[in-house]
Amino acid sequence: MIRAELSKLVSLPATWLTLASTLAANVLLTFVIAAGDAPVAYSRAGFIVLGVLATCSEYTGGQIRTTLTVMPRRVRQLAAKHTALAVVTLPAALAVALSGPLITTAVLGTPVGLWQVAEVTAYLTLLTLVSAAVGVLLRHTLAGVAVLLGCLFVAVPFVHEYLPDDMVTLVVSTPVLLVVAALAYRRRDA
């Protein structure tokens, strides 16, 4: 099951395009901002797109019907999809998280903070999973991307003082959204 979901994800050109442009944007922004992992604040948009695409691509052109015919247990199918997504995302997130600090190390000589790289990698992976869950709920790529980017880039900076740390918010909201998405997915028409 996970292998099937993986092959779907890996065979989408959009997956590779998104990841490549995210990494490219991150590297370029590192030169602009000239500080370790600050550009991730912008390049995380790429991971949002990846997550939303992973689930919404099922809904362009009826792939979802084939998928659910082959794997009728919906919650298990969704879990497989998220697992496959995490498998693809984790190395990509690591590459993006490493690229910024590595460049600053090469140019300025500041050491790479391993803990920080791990935290950024975890952040990006969780963000991708949340985006996939939102994608399941909305079933529309553009709407999903607009809502998530609006929350992250427009709303969050202004409500920041009322929220706990970014990472804490994400760790709490990921399982909640995954469960909500799974419940909605189970109950409604495909």
Binding site: V32, T60, L142, V145, A146, L149, G150, F153, F158
Partner: protein, 239 residues
């Protein structure tokens, strides 16, 4: 004229356009509500500069909906094929669509401005800045131009995700174009950085002063250039 009416009907029946309308009003007034109550000459205007999300969605969706492939059960077609059968002149089609986007964006800009300024006046009472017709016209102009910019870029790319992502990320408080100004002062002439000058007096650590009129001219040039490029490309390539 009939083509414009048809385009308006298409926009009006897209759920994403209604979402865009809600975002356009809620985002800037919401930001104004949450922003701590420090009075200043740019209160309200600043929020309207960041809150352009709604018109970006409008401009992108107006075009990307034409290119969306429908499911195999509805023939796997695209709206664009039908649209160009009905209005075969590509330039006329694109002009009608741009006109429809403007006709939706302008009232949205008015509604957003009214809502945001209303919130600012309620929150700050007497300390709020007096309204200035020139600056308000600048807001409406900036919003409309932003919608057209999103529109033109989406025509060039034929897909909504990339322009939507890039433009929305760029509406964050510290925008990418603002970061670029630290690398080169030329970045002050990006459409958003220049266009904001029409109504925002002060942008953090200004090094290049652009008058509101110059801002208007710069942004107009960007919009005109991109629209011309979009129509040139659109008339030449396969739909």
């Amino acid at each position: 004229m009939r083509a414009v009416r048809a385009e308006l009907a298409k926009l009006g029946t897209l759920p994403s356009v209604w979402l865009a309308g809600v975002l356009a009003v809620v985002v800037p007034s919401g930001i104004a509500m949450l922003n701590s109550g420090v009075p200043g000459p740019d209160r309200g205007y600043q929020e309207l500069a960041f809150g352009v999300m709604g018109v970006i969605v409008l401009g992108v969706v107006a075009v990307s909906s034409e290119y969306l492939t429908e499911g195999a059960d509805s023939g796997g077609g695209r709206q664009l094929t039908t649209s160009l059968t009905a209005v075969p002149s590509r330039v006329r089609f694109l002009a009608a669509k741009a006109a429809a986007v403007v006709l939706v964006a302008v009232p949205l800009a008015f509604a957003a401005t009214a809502a945001t300024m209303g919130v600012v006046h309620v929150r700050l009472a007497e300390q709020a800045t007096a309204l200035d017709a020139g600056r308000l016209a600048g807001v409406v102009c900036y919003w409309t131009y932003t919608a057209l910019l999103a529109f033109a870029i989406t025509v060039l790319l034929r897909h909504g995700i990339v322009p939507l992502t890039v433009l929305l990320v760029n509406t964050s408080v510290v925008s990418v174009t603002f970061l670029l100004t630290k690398v080169t002062p030329l970045a002050y002439y990006f459409p958003d950085m220049a266009g904001m000058r029409m109504f925002v007096g002060e942008i953090a650590d200004d090094r290049v002063m652009i008058s509101p009129l110059l801002g208007l001219l710069v942004m107009s040039a960007w919009v005109a250039g991109l629209l011309a490029l979009a129509s040139a490309v659109f008339t030449r390539r396969d739909a």
